[in-house]
């Protein structure tokens, strides 16, 4: 089972690395969206500091969602997914591995680049670790929940738009807790509570989402 996980993760990462521009596009999208807000709202430093956590989190949500439709599409097109369904290793394990690979490609870079965006918004230096940590805990949840939606909309008309309609409402708790942790920390109350709740969400979605992804894949591949 561990072998299957490692194999799927390595394969997906290798495929992503062969098409590096896809990773760069999602990351660039995140940076551009986050940079657009000051242009629209104005550069008043206090205002920017106040909206920074929310804007960065919303940009992360959208960027992570954009790459979701690619999660199963290529494997579906060339028949690999069918072989995975027929294979000996449990489908849930493979689904979890694919979500993990998706996170490494699309979530982790966001958490790493976020401190740079935080500088643009003049976020106090003490808050940057909280922001990065909240993204580190929250983006895997986005990948896991998003994978359910990606599996459900596999090969469906207008899949991309539909996917956002299915997945974004389910992202609400992650957004509230993630942005809330930074806001609480900036209010001097400490974001620990929100970060712990985010960690709880991560544990819960690690436990349940792979099942849901696996059954969604079975439904879509019937």
């Amino acid at each position: 089972m561990v072998e299957a996980v490692l194999c799927v993760v390595r394969r997906d990462l290798l495929l992503a690395w062969r098409r590096r521009s896809d990773i760069a596009t999602a990351l660039l999208f995140f940076i551009i969206v986050a940079s657009l807000f000051p242009l629209g709202i104005g550069f008043e430093p206090n205002l920017l500091r106040a909206i920074a956590p929310g804007v960065i989190w919303v940009a992360a949500l959208l960027s992570s969602m954009l790459s979701l439709s690619r999660l199963f599409a290529a494997d579906h097109a060339d028949g690999t997914l069918e072989q995975m369904l027929l294979g000996a290793s449990p489908l849930g394990v493979i689904a979890a591995a694919k979500a993990a690979a998706h996170w490494i490609v699309s979530g982790l870079p966001l958490a790493l680049i976020a401190p740079l965006i935080a500088l643009q918004y003049d976020l106090p230096a003490a808050l940057t670790p909280v922001l990065a940590l909240s993204l580190l805990l929250g983006t895997p949840v986005l990948s896991l929940i998003g994978a359910i939606g990606a599996a459900l909309t596999l090969g469906v008309r207008g899949g991309g738009i539909l996917l956002s309609l299915l997945v974004l409402p389910l992202y609400v708790p992650v957004l509230i807790l993630g942005a809330g942790s930074v806001e609480m920390a900036s209010a001097g109350m400490g974001g620990d509570g929100q970060l712990l709740l985010l960690a709880a969400l991560l544990v819960a979605s690690c436990a349940f989402a792979p099942w849901a992804i696996a059954s969604a894949l079975r439904i879509s591949m019937e």
Partner: protein, 231 residues
Amino acid sequence: MNWFWYASPQTFDPLAGRMAPWFALAAALLAAAGLYVGFFVAPTDAQQGEVYRIIFIHVPAAWLSMFIYLVMAFWAALGLAFNTRLSGMMASALAPTGALFTFIALWTGSLWGRPTWGTYWVWDARLTSELVLLFLYLGFIALQAAIDDPRRADRAGALLAIVGAVNIPIIHYSVVWWNTLHQGASVSVTRGASMQSQMLIAMLLMALGFWMYSIAVTLVRVRCIMREREA
């Protein structure tokens, strides 16, 4: 009694056809009684004046909007577990009614909020959860509409409904902790009702009426779905 006897569309269709008019009649009577008690018998509220009377529509609609989602998830789970055709049809028949009540709850809530809070919309916990619930309903409907094969549409929608039902408490509590301005619940199971009994009667009558209405339209809609698919 064999519960699975009516699980087949062929046997359920005549039953639904016979029951729907009675539920519709009950809905009309209960709603008329509820509106009469609510608008002519119940006294004017000491603080809010006449405007409070919108709760006779708002609160039952909000109850039903949440309850219908649970019923929908129940049918969805049943459909996935037993692979019955009717369950998926019931889930898709319930969704538009649930979305309608969610929209009514939001709409009447904002009409009530304008004179009482001084604003049509606040980012309060219950309003926000209700809005997310509306998005969940619309996502369910959109997913089913996008899939051509009805079997796959049923099963995909069922999974989405279950994932949504698991998420609703999480969404609700995350929003509650985030912010709250809404007044506390006036009707609670543990404390009993903290309102005048005529108001309570009107509200319960309206809730029952809405309930009967939901059953009636769901039965009619499920018969339409059967005809669309089996024709």
